[in-house]
């Protein structure tokens, strides 16, 4: 970028004195060769010195990207050996407790990958651990974006793209989980089949078409495989592409700091510092996954055995990212099913599905909702500290609690056995938590945010309490406050403040219901608020001390 301000640099000047070495001559030749055929220099000029701000939480999206690359690499290895077929075969591999058993080719080939191909088990475990990390890092990345308000204009669209990626990642995860055709995933598919059948009018037929006949059929693994290795990855790659392009167009947000404004980006350039860090980070992520995969078992399908509709294991659960859906099913109280004339309506399935869809819609649309409330049409490139947007942080905390309750419900049986509780009691407690937990979490978070803001304000005005007590000549005791530097103070005083919307009649002298609603939500959001310290207050506080 032409307007990147280069600071005077002391290194690098000396090297130019000598003529280029052989390596440099080759690089020059290659760069010229490529540029004369692709105009690559333009891209390097545009992107090579783009600035990327440094903050640990800005790396979470990269964790997701890198684990996805690890998934693609390890997954490719697995496809060379995996047979996506449900045709029955007799297992003749190494694992004694399954020898001679009839199972699908999918299961048998997965066992062969695990026990008869060197590095196969490692690749399976890398693939699965990377998948868990992929979805988890997307989740954490989304939380970071949410709590810092980094979804505000102009990034609402990229939030939606990221949300789509989250849903696609869950789809990738579920289709992959089902491929080995083991007992655990087979029972998982059976639950999906039951849920689909519970959908009014079309459910029976959708299940029938999906499974190619009656459950389990011989088609589902092959169909899920196509989705898992072709359609869904293509969509993920495309969505990541859009996500990255929008990231470059919008540039990265940054936290408030001295010298940082809404009109600049302060950080390290892509070439060379960020490239080295991000490139190195890829290897670290891959390395951490490899380390875990070589030492910790994941999805031991040999324990589960081949899918058979009759057995089931205690503790049958989906992978963590589908847990919230399984939990929603578990929390339904008895009796939510009724007859509508000759038809059966399964509210015990419909309500959880609706709750999940609504929850996801709220997540996807929140940026537009907040923009409507504030009416703020400006671009925002400074990420909020969560405390400085108390109501948003409270809503986020409520959402996290809601999700966590559903998630915990999916392991109600394990919670019961590990804490020596009755599973019924655990279920009832989580039902209560699902309803009251978000309210409590929201209220508490809101209060905590405002208290933190008050503390920030105190510190900005009067400095840190030093704990040192001094007696004044007049006999009065005071505690000495350490003053802040201007740089430190700036981080505490630089944030946006919104006030509740005052409803005013429109051009025709009317107040619409929409405006009224907006005003009341706006009051709910901003009635309780702490203003940032102003210059006047600062000066007044300082003259107090002198």
């Amino acid at each position: 970028m032409t307007d990147t301000m280069e600071r005077p640099s002391t290194t690098g000047a000396t090297q130019a004195q000598e003529g280029p070495g052989r390596g440099m001559r080759f690089t020059n030749w290659a760069a010229n060769w490529v540029d004369e055929r692709t105009s690559m220099s333009g891209l390097v000029k545009e992107l090579g010195r783009k600035i990327f701000p440094d903050h640990w939480s800005f790396m979470l999206g990269e964790v997701a990207l890198y684990s996805f690359i690890v998934i693609l690499l390890s997954g490719t290895f697995l496809t060379f050996f995996f047979q996506a077929s449900m045709a029955p075969v007799e297992y003749e591999g190494s694992y004694a407790p399954l020898k001679g058993l009839e199972m699908s080719s999918a299961m048998a080939s997965t066992l062969d990958i695990s026990f008869d191909i060197r590095g196969g088990l490692l690749m399976r475990q890398i693939h699965h651990w990377a998948a868990l990390l992929f979805v988890a890092s997307i989740g954490l990345h989304m939380l970071r974006i949410f709590f810092t308000g980094a979804f505000r204009k102009p990034r609402e669209l990229n939030w939606v793209v990221g949300f789509v990626l989250f849903v696609l990642a869950m789809g990738e995860g579920f289709t992959g989980y089902s491929l080995p055709d083991d007992l655990l995933s087979g029972n998982g598919l059976r639950i999906i089949d039951g849920m689909i059948k519970g959908v009014p009018v079309v459910g029976t037929w959708i299940s029938y078409l999906l499974f190619g006949g009656e459950f389990p059929g011989e088609a589902i693994v092959g169909r899920l495989y196509t989705l898992h290795i072709l359609l869904l990855p293509a969509l993920v790659v495309a969505a990541i592409g859009v996500h990255m392009v929008l990231l470059i167009v919008n540039k990265h947000t940054q936290f408030a700091g001295p010298g940082r404004t809404n009109d600049n980006v302060v950080g390290v350039p892509i070439m060379p510092v960020f490239a080295a860090k991000a490139g190195g980070f890829f290897f670290i992520i891959f390395g951490v996954i490899a380390l875990v995969a070589s030492t910790v078992t994941i999805n031991p399908i040999w324990n589960y055995g081949p899918y058979d509709p009759s057995p089931i294991s205690a503790g049958t659960q989906p992978d963590w990212y589908i847990g919230f859906a399984d939990g929603a099913l578990r929390l339904v109280p008895p009796g939510w099913e009724f007859q509508l004339g000759p038809y059966t309506v399964s509210m015990n399935i419909l309500i959880p599905i609706l709750v999940l869809v609504l929850f996801l819609l709220v997540v996807a649309l929140y940026p537009f909702f907040e923009a409507w409330i504030t009416g703020d049409k400006r671009e925002h490139h400074i990420a909020d500290r969560p405390r400085n947007a108390p109501m948003r942080t409270a809503i986020g905390a409520a959402g996290v609690t809601f999700y966590a309750a559903l998630w915990a419900a999916a392991s109600s049986d394990l919670i019961a056995t590990h804490f020596r509780l009755a599973v019924e009691g655990v279920t009832h407690a989580i039902q209560a938590l699902l309803i009251f937990g978000p309210i409590i979490a929201g209220v508490v978070t809101h209060r905590v945010c405002i208290a933190l803001q008050k503390k920030d304000r105190e510190i900005a005005l009067h400095g840190y309490e030093s704990g040192r007590i001094v007696r004044l000549p007049g006999g009065e005791y005071i505690e000495v406050h350490e003053p802040l530097s201007d740089f430190e103070r700036w981080k505490l005083v630089s944030f946006e403040e919104y006030q509740p919307l005052m409803v005013r009649p429109d051009a025709r002298g009317r107040i619409t219901a929409g405006q009224r609603l907006r005003a009341s939500i706006s009051r709910f959001f901003f009635e309780d608020r702490i203003s940032p310290v102003t210059q006047t207050e600062l000066e007044a506080a300082h003259s107090d001390h002198h």
Binding site: I126, E214, K277, I349
Partner: protein, 354 residues
């Protein structure tokens, strides 16, 4: 689509200032605290001390050498610790050592590169200016003009007949893409299949998985048998049949059973058979507690009381598990009296509809 009022077709580009976006309900103050500007650069030890710089340089190189060692180790482990057929310890060793070698190779490159960037590359922050995301007014006006020209030259809005018929054609065009998916499943109506299982009058109850028939006298008090129909594995689609026909067989004291009218003959001397497929979403409900006579589904914790014809006492399921009427044949083996009297498994829309 672009704002057509801003530029008439073919007119010269109209220059305008970008409107100042509304701040909404944000409080805009005149006496904000001033941004103090960039703090001074804090030099690192490698900036100040050439010895430390060389030390860091060596450290980075060490990381990369460690990576080479990891790679060599991984290849050595792959060859030196092969999988011995049937020996799970060899699988564990191969997996662990190969993985640790690869992990060392990867982590070392990563740590070396990051250390290089942090300790040795230029540590100054740089500044890049942002521009409003919306295009410049000239660009926007030109874009609007292009659309307008496109519209004018094609007559897209003027020729309503063409436009509307195109929209209609595009709207119906994807329908075949939906229709061709009909053959994902066979032609038969799923409802007929879902309402019947392979159980029929006189069919023996046999043990899962070995198919040994069960005598009434085998089923002692407190026992539970996992049951499949006789000849299940000779059918064309055993898994599909098993997914509907799996049954749980239990013996209770006859006086513990609360039998509703019409079902008096469905049990045999306290031996009862219930579908094992949960009426919620279809998990096998197989956890039988012989003292409480409760059945628990391990997936979503629905509980069924066998003494009260498997009615639901806890959890998301609504309907009791369907009961299979049983009796004994001349040789004393347990047999079904008929198929289930209602569809087994999870509810579906047409469950009671004929």
């Amino acid at each position: 689509m672009a704002d057509q009022g801003s530029a008439a077709p073919g007119t010269a580009v109209e220059k305008r200032e970008a409107p100042i976006p509304s701040a909404g309900t944000a409080v805009v103050r005149s006496d904000r605290v001033e941004n103090p500007g960039f703090p001074p650069y804090r030099p690192r030890v490698s900036d100040l001390d050439p010895k430390k710089e060389r030390q860091n340089e060596r450290r980075v190189a060490w990381f990369f050498w460690a990576s080479i060692i990891g790679t060599v180790f991984a290849i050595t482990a792959y060859i030196a610790f092969p999988i011995v057929e049937g020996d799970m310890a060899s699988v564990r060793l191969n997996n662990g050592l190969l993985g640790l070698g690869i992990a060392l190779a990867l982590l070392s490159i990563g740590l070396g590169a990051v250390h290089w960037s942090k300790a040795l590359m230029d540590g100054h922050d740089l500044v890049e200016q942002r521009h409003p995301t919306r295009g410049s007014e000239e660009t926007r006006a030109r874009a609007a003009e292009i659309f307008t020209l496109g519209n004018k030259e094609s007559g897209f809005t003027r020729r309503k007949l063409i436009r509307n018929s195109l929209i209609g054609a595009l709207a119906v065009m994807p329908l075949p893409a939906i229709v061709i998916f009909r053959d994902l499943a066979p032609a038969a109506d799923p409802n007929a299949l879902l309402k019947h299982t392979m159980w029929e009058k006189g069919m023996r109850l046999t043990k899962d998985p070995n198919g040994v028939p069960i005598k009434a006298s085998d089923v002692t008090l407190g026992s539970v048998f996992q049951v499949i129909p006789e000849g299940l594995y000779d059918t064309e689609h055993p898994l599909e049949e098993k997914a509907k026909a799996a049954v749980l067989l239990m013996r209770l004291k006859p006086e513990d059973l609360h039998v509703s009218p019409g079902r008096e003959s469905w049990n045999y001397d306290g031996i009862v058979a219930y579908s094992k497929i949960c009426t919620h979403v279809g998990c096998p409900v197989a956890l039988y507690e012989q003292q409480t006579h409760h059945l628990l589904c391990p997936c979503h914790q629905s509980q069924f009381d066998i003494t009260h014809e498997a009615e639901v006492i806890f959890g998301p399921a609504k309907r009791p598990l369907p009961q299979l009427p049983i009796s004994v044949d001349a040789e004393g083996y347990l047999v079904a009296q008929s198929d289930f009297h209602e569809p087994v498994g999870p509810s579906f829309w047409e469950r009671v509809h004929d």
